[in-house]
Symmetry: C2
Subunit: 206 residues, 2 copies
């Protein structure tokens, strides 16, 4: 359901608009790789991602359609994000929380929207994690943060499938060659493609 | 403009619904005293406020229409809010930030909405303030936090004035006796009333 999560977060939660600059934290994960493609298809001007290794950073820009990416282990996220997004961020799709969310709050443009999808930082924490030190930006910049889990948005499955089918028919979806056995797995295969790549075909063996 | 701030925060920002339970932090301030009245007029089931002294707490429930209130100096806000709102909060109107926002995040019901209007905590801080340790609640409970300043919502002035005039004509606005000189100050006087009380009349001397 990663493609649907990406779609819901960008549309119903963050209200992505044509020309927006989008930041995706933890972009090389299953959801993040879908977010890059979907954001561009929905008209984002620029999509920026963070990941935890040089290899993942390369994958983001070479395979998953990201315009720019950085390795969050190379230095403070705050500094790296400010450098890579000098004109600010309109939409953040946050899979990480912690220092990534804090960096995003610093980089958001006025009226920016943040879809909070995951908080890896706090999942891994043994103590309660410390929150962003710049919450006042939410007020001064008129930001909107909205958390979501997919369960509340399943009514958008059909809309998503329709858009996906269009993009797919128009050859706009990059994907790996993958063979899925059984026509009943077609939708699942469609969704799996959203984590996909630049080459090959999706084959459903019936 | 405190009445308009209350109205904008409750309607356009927090999307108050009939039957909601509302928490207002820093409720005895100029904005907070308006929020209590406006929230009840808009159909809130229960309005809870925090303030910094026993006198202010008494004012909230006796004069400003709050159903319940607590003194945040009496103990941790987290514990006091949980006790006073055992069925949870649907809408938070936050004037304070810091421990109040953190307590609200713990008390919010699924799908809750928070209008962030002020962050007194961070205004007074010399260092950058520490953020809430429970940001993950935003995701798991599908919360929406939206910051705002009045400047972005002045287009709602007319709608607000209309509602105010209706409430006023229906005798639903409590206010102090106050004499304002000059018909040109009538609107200003209307707005001032929103910080007002249970007794007396508003007089405009022309």
């Amino acid at each position: 359901m990663t493609g649907l999560t990406a779609y819901v977060g960008l549309t119903a939660v963050a209200h992505l608009r044509e020309g927006d600059t989008v930041f995706v934290s933890g972009a090389a994960g299953a959801v993040g790789t879908a977010v890059g493609q979907v954001a561009k298809l929905l008209g984002a001007k620029r999509v920026i991602g963070s990941a935890g290794s040089a290899e993942k950073v390369a994958l983001l820009t070479e395979k998953y359609g990201y315009d720019a990416a950085f390795n969050y282990k190379d230095g403070p996220v705050r500094e790296q994000l400010a450098r890579i997004a000098p004109d600010g961020i309109d939409v953040t799709f946050d899979n990480v929380g912690g220092d990534h969310l804090e960096a995003a709050l610093d980089a958001m443009n006025d009226g920016g929207r943040l879809a909070l999808c995951g908080a890896i930082t706090s999942y891994n924490a043994t103590d309660r994690s410390v929150g962003p030190d710049n919450m006042a930006n939410i007020i001064t910049r008129g930001l909107r943060l909205q958390g979501f889990t997919l369960g509340s948005y399943l009514h958008l499955s059909e809309e998503f499938s329709g858009r996906m089918a269009e993009w797919f028919a128009a050859g706009q979806i990059a994907y790996d060659e993958t063979v899925v056995t059984g026509i009943e797995h077609t939708v699942e295969a469609f969704l799996a493609m959203m984590r996909g790549a630049n080459t090959g075909k999706m084959l459903v063996a019936v």
